[in-house]
């Protein structure tokens, strides 16, 4: 039997390191907002010969415009949205495309464009997630009303949910300056997806703890919680693995245009499994036992 609850200090420490470094990264570097949120350039191009969208996408990436978003339009015309470029770069880009695709550009124009997605949309998505979290908190508190102090279950569930969301956002912030990872409009969708997956995981584990409490497995709350977590491991890993099959397949084989969404889900589902097994129930135990001072491993030894 693995002692999930006994090792809680280590889990809290790992999460604390991730969250704190993430918050520092967010405070210092923020998120790297992609071209969806910024003014940029849009080019319309008409090629002499037929050009396929994937060829154009590849050619743009080869020329260093890997974040450009080409879109096919009527009769061999393409619209390409990309970061703001100068007219010199524009001329070079056109020459590069003509050479790479072995055809002439018969017609082209360059525009400066406004953002596709307003920052207000991001802001109100965040507000929506916060309000939804309050709904989640209230429902879980009600669903566990027969447990002692049900509001704690609701609060711990939402804390574990926020834990997952913060880690995903933090990883994107770190990847932003470390690997140039940009946040686009699909990231917003990814964050919403994580709310769904994460809440599901937490409630399933809480349910198992509740069942063990009702059965009276032990008078020690810590043992009850650990039993509940132990019995959920099989299910959590199997569901997690099954979902990750799809996500990893999409990440490795899927198109590049949805990659931020898939990466967000990949990180979110992984931390979701972790937080449901290693954080949510442990928070309940800490609260029950009033061990707040012993949240970190070294504090436990001195206690």
């Amino acid at each position: 039997m693995i002692d999930f609850v006994g090792k809680k200090h280590w889990f809290f420490l790992i999460s604390a390191i991730l969250i704190i470094s993430g918050i520092i990264s967010l405070a210092v570097f923020g998120l790297k907002w992609g071209i969806d949120f910024k003014s940029g350039s849009q080019i319309t191009l008409q090629f002499e010969k037929e050009v396929k969208l994937d060829q154009l996408r590849q050619e743009l990436a080869d020329l260093g415009y890997d974040r450009a978003k080409p879109q096919s339009a009527a009769a061999g015309e393409f619209l390409i949205r990309l970061q703001a470029i100068s007219s010199d770069n524009y001329t070079q880009l056109k020459a590069g495309l003509e050479a790479g695709l072995a055809t002439n550009i018969t017609d082209s124009s360059l525009y400066t464009v406004s953002p596709i997605m307003a920052m207000g949309t991001v802001r109100n998505t965040v507000i929506a997630v916060i309000i939804a979290s309050i709904g989640i908190l209230l429902y879980i508190s009600w669903a566990f009303r027969k447990m002692p102090k049900p509001i704690r279950w609701g609060i711990c569930a939402v804390l574990a949910l926020l834990h997952d969301l913060i880690i995903v956002i933090a990883v994107f912030s770190i990847l932003g300056w470390a690997a140039g990872m940009e946040v686009d409009s699909l990231f917003v969708t990814g964050v919403l997806g994580i709310v769904g997956v994460s809440v599901n995981n937490i409630v399933v584990v809480f349910d198992r703890i509740r069942e063990n409490l009702k059965r009276g497995v032990s008078s020690d709350f810590e043992v009850v919680v650990n039993c509940g977590i132990m019995e959920s491991v099989g299910r959590s890993l199997n569901t997690g693995l099954a979902t990750l099959f799809v996500i990893v397949a999409l990440y490795l084989l899927g198109g590049v245009t949805i990659r931020t969404l898939i990466l967000a889900l990949l990180i979110g589902i992984t931390t979701g499994i972790y937080s449901s097994l290693c954080i949510a129930g442990q928070l309940l135990v800490v609260w029950e036992k009033g061990e707040w001072s012993a949240l970190l491993p070294w504090a436990k030894k001195t206690a």
């Binding site: 979902t243 799809v246 969404l261």
Partner: protein, 442 residues
């Protein structure tokens, strides 16, 4: 086999057959023969307008006028149900342009011509009174009155509350647009109707006379616009009045078709990757949980077809956020089945008979399935309400609606379909050994 479960299996078979028929291409009921796909997945129309900034209100800067027009257009397309349209301002040395991309409109009860009219028209409404000019002819002059701050104001559509709506006049059987003034508009309208009692009052849209009813009484807060409107025209005008007039006149350059914003090439790859991922899930479930895994996969197939049928029939607009909601709901469906399969193994290990183990596995996993699904359900309801009513945020709305439907149907398939299938398998006596359910050590 019990009669009741036979009846249930037949019901599931009929439901599945119907859903499958609906999902097939070119089938459906009520004219819903295709999925309603978003601009990002399926492409649509690109409307391109040149903005005539020389005609803007001189008190605004160019940037303000363009931004105002962009916001007005966003309100208009949102109000007409084309929620995931994109609107952007484009500028170069040749001028200032506004590009609007909308999804294909076939499934959305609005034609591209109507959209282009709805978007591109300035739609400035004003009320005019007749005055005698020097030559003795009557002309229409925009009605002015003293506003609450003591200055003289023109009575225009800017003072309307955003709740204009087409109504049928029961006496004339003609379609009119009912409107209400805001507080300031009511102050102006009262003075103007008082002054023009028993005289005609001209209602002009973009400097064209729509109608000139005779003022019958002093009116403050509300009124109707008469005219020879068709229902579609009246709806368009109501949306335009509610969204406000464009801050700058637009000239349309012919609409063209555009491909999906996420790129057809990329989407094709992703679809294939998704299918491979699903195949892996099925393989995993069958290898790990054997018979119950197979049953769970069959139930998931039923679930997927049912959900897609509902998406088609409502219809739900499927954009990437919607697909993400759907994927999460499939994940929760898989999870529900894993919960049941794990419980089944536990019960069998404890030495329960197969029949009892199946019943127990459902009873005991029910509270987890119920509470986790209802929690997500509530989160979705909150998100949907915020995404439509409060924020007009199509990402949040699209995600919430598909997850909401998905979770509801997932609970249904868990309780009804998986259980009926498992009971049937157990009753058939085809797989009796606990090993067949993934229990390796007995």
């Amino acid at each position: 086999m019990k009669k009741a479960s036979k009846g249930l299996l037949i019901f599931i078979a009929i439901l599945f057959a119907f859903a499958l028929w609906v999902v097939l291409p070119n089938h459906g009921i009520g004219g819903r023969t295709g999925f309603t796909l978003g601009l990002d997945l399926n492409g649509g129309w690109r409307l391109f307008y040149s903005a005539n900034l020389s005609m803007k209100d001189p008190s605004q800067t160019d940037a303000q006028a363009l931004e105002g027009a962009k916001q007005t257009i966003e309100r208009r397309v949102n109000a007409s149900g084309l929620t995931e349209a994109t609107v952007q301002i484009m500028q170069n040395e040749q001028g200032n342009f506004i590009e609007v991309q909308i999804p294909y409109t076939k499934e959305r009860k609005i034609s591209i011509d109507e959209v282009s009219k709805l978007v591109g028209q300035v739609a400035e409404l004003d009320f005019r009174e007749q005055v005698l000019n020097a030559t003795g002819n009557t002309t229409w002059v925009t009605a002015k009155a003293v506003g609450s701050n003591g200055t003289e104001e023109k009575l225009t559509g800017a003072y309307l509350k955003p709740n204009a709506a087409p109504v049928m006049n029961p006496n004339t059987n003609k379609i009119e647009i009912a409107f209400e003034w805001n507080a300031e508009g009511a102050i102006l309208f009262k003075q103007i109707t008082t002054r023009n009692l028993n005289k005609p009052l001209g209602i002009f849209l973009d400097n064209e006379l729509i109608s000139a009813p005779t003022v019958q009484a002093v009116i403050e807060d509300k009124g109707v616009i008469e005219g020879n409107f068709s229902m579609d025209e009246a709806k368009t005008l109501a949306i335009q009045l509610n969204s406000g007039a464009l801050s700058v006149p637009l000239t349309e350059i012919a609409p063209t078709e555009v491909g999906p914003t996420l790129g057809a090439d990329s989407l094709k790859k992703s679809l294939l990757a998704g299918i491979i991922g699903l195949a892996l899930i099925i393989l995993f479930m069958i290898i790990y949980y054997r018979v119950s895994g197979l049953v769970a996969c069959l139930a998931l197939v039923v679930y997927t077809v049912l959900t897609l049928a509902v998406f088609k029939l409502i219809p739900v607009t499927l954009s990437l956020p919607g697909i993400a909601g759907f994927i999460v709901s499939v994940g929760m469906g898989v999870d529900g089945n894993v919960l049941v399969c794990e419980r089944l193994k536990e019960e069998l290990r404890r030495g329960s008979t197969l029949g009892r183990a199946v019943e127990q596995s459902f009873t005991q996993s029910w509270s987890a399935i119920w509470d986790s699904n209802v929690t997500v359900f509530i989160a979705c309801a909150v998100l949907y309400w915020l995404g439509t009513r409060v924020f007009a945020n199509p990402t949040v709305m699209g995600f919430a609606i598909t997850l909401f439907i998905g979770v509801a149907l997932s609970m249904f398939t868990q309780v009804v379909v998986t259980r009926a299938f498992l009971r049937t398998v157990v009753a058939s006596g085809l797989a009796k050994s606990p090993r067949a359910y993934g229990v390796l050590e007995v």
